[in-house]
Symmetry: C2
Subunit: 374 residues, 2 copies
Amino acid sequence: MAMQAVMEGLKPQGYIKRVKQRGGNAPTIADVAAQANCSPMTVSRVINGGSRVKAETHEAVMKAVRKLNYKPNRAARSLAGGEQLRIALMFDNPSASYLAEFLMGALDEASSNDIHLEVQSCDNASEALPIMRKLHDGGIKGFILPPPLCDNQAVMDLANELDAVAIAVGPGKATDAHGSVIIDDFQAAYDMTKHIIGLGHSRIGFIIGNPEQVASGRRLSGYLAAMNDAKLDVIDELIVQGRFTYRSGMAATESLLKVDPRPTAIFASNDDMAAAAVAVAHRQHLDVPTDLTVCGFDDTEMASTIWPELTTIRQPIRQMTASAVSTIARIVSARRTSSNWPTEFTTLPYELIRRDSDAAPSLAKRTSSGSGQS
Amino acid sequence: MAMQAVMEGLKPQGYIKRVKQRGGNAPTIADVAAQANCSPMTVSRVINGGSRVKAETHEAVMKAVRKLNYKPNRAARSLAGGEQLRIALMFDNPSASYLAEFLMGALDEASSNDIHLEVQSCDNASEALPIMRKLHDGGIKGFILPPPLCDNQAVMDLANELDAVAIAVGPGKATDAHGSVIIDDFQAAYDMTKHIIGLGHSRIGFIIGNPEQVASGRRLSGYLAAMNDAKLDVIDELIVQGRFTYRSGMAATESLLKVDPRPTAIFASNDDMAAAAVAVAHRQHLDVPTDLTVCGFDDTEMASTIWPELTTIRQPIRQMTASAVSTIARIVSARRTSSNWPTEFTTLPYELIRRDSDAAPSLAKRTSSGSGQS
DNA sequence: TTTACTTATGGTAGCGCTACCACTATCGTC
DNA sequence: GACGATAGTGGTAGCGCTACCATAAGTAAA
């Protein structure tokens, strides 16, 4: 400590670094300022966008920064910079597989933007309402709402009432939120259906998802459109209602396999139902994919756990939540300056993951067995 | 300064809240102090462990905290309190279901203890090594290592070499880490086996887990001990090797069901293999649980997704990671003061979750059907 | 030249919290 | 009863950074 003071004595006229009260030895903005022979303010300006700084000064500062390997202190930054943005990630979705990806994406983005992310679970949408109120009172400025929360009108209404920024991630009624991050469910289902048709199938069963989630309808539409575009008959019996659960997938598959002639492929609106379809098929001694092609949607863990692994649609969940976090940040800061309410709707690309549960219909005698692929 | 001095003159004797320079309206420690009629210091003391504070004062402060819904400002805290503890949660476990729980537990604990948690994924253990080095260079003081990372000798060696605190969560060689948080795998497997025996089974098949994970052996031992204690013959053919994967569970089950007379129950070392056992049984037109009882281990999402839902062992994963985080915090701070290396080994309670996949053997004609339970 | 305005920089005062020390009561202890 | 301990509290000074204003130049308009 005293030593440091001695060292300062050598300095020409720069900003004297105070003796540190507590441990720690990371370079501070003052160190950089001394090194670059300017004031800490100038350094701050350079670091934060370099507005109104002479080019030479700018460069001198940058050189000092590099030399000292200076990293701005997050804590100090957000303390000095006024309010720290705090947003909440709510969920009542029991799917752990989603959740992990959700968290990873949100966490990364939040921590690199110095945003405080509160993670809140609740058992159901109605329980979410008081929690949201409380969080909002506690200074939470925005909410990230994955389905099914974002499909709940009461939740979205409350977000509106509170003037909080709500971003729906994944399927949801985009129009109700201040923003949303989605994939194109319609197009994804369209592509998958087209893929199945391309394998040679024409009797393709479809299991609809939970009617309360908007994505279900979009996926159904995609299926229908692809069938129509391929000039294939849409057979009512081959479209059955499910509820996104394994159990509902079993019932749906049983009813599909009773249709005569039975479908040669089943496209389920999510992986859990697709897994159930595989199980039911196996019980009826139908091989997958030789006798029956089964495709899912979401690429949850289930899809790559069971055998055969499912051909499915992967949503870039991580990027989606990351994008949700940064969108909220943008909207909140935009609202601070102007009073209008910007909204942002982002659509991210999905991916058709081909695994081992699809093949050409069996009349073709298993010529092209599903070629695995991660 | 001068202005402030003037303002001070007006002060009665309480702490006047200064006019805020920038936006923001979250209650500060000064607000609480005013409310509780004491100094900010006292509030700080109460918040941070309440040492040397009179009981009444303590209560008054807590009341004020509750009334104002005061939350300490993280940034200010870590800025004032010197270095913030940073620890990393590494994982190469592909199981998303675990991961979600892991993250939730660690996150909660980290955020309430103002610890910065870095979440790092890596594809395999050897990739982990350079990452750990880098994180350590970057100031990470401790690592949380779930299996299979903590079963990897190279990883544990590196942690030792780096002088970093490593806590193994879940199964692992406790002795290699500075601490571990586990459940008693032996006892849990013992209990489950005893439970199955209690239902009336005597020919109980067992599927061993991945031989590279220490827990596998412990679970096997538990099974063997329970069989012995019940004076039941341990039949070699009824113990088959698996690898914790669905696929290996299928193969194992197929071989188990070939044994004559076939087992009336199968205890798999994890849920994925148990789910595979159910699938194989169904394919062979054996009803679960009427014809075959199947029990798993871990209570992953899979267990409650498939039908019938699995009777299994639940690990308190959330508490386990939470405990891991606080253990690291304790060890790191202990090391700061004394130079000896404390270690901490925690064992948390598991829970046998009874669902619908177990029943008395079929000779008893499905008298006691599995009584569901969350 | 003066006024006005722009550009580049510095000074100062905090952000909300805690470390550190100082101080007052209330105890023993000899 | 004087003395040092100890519990309980308050004051002060920062942590590293940025908002805000002041200043000192230079540049354009009057």
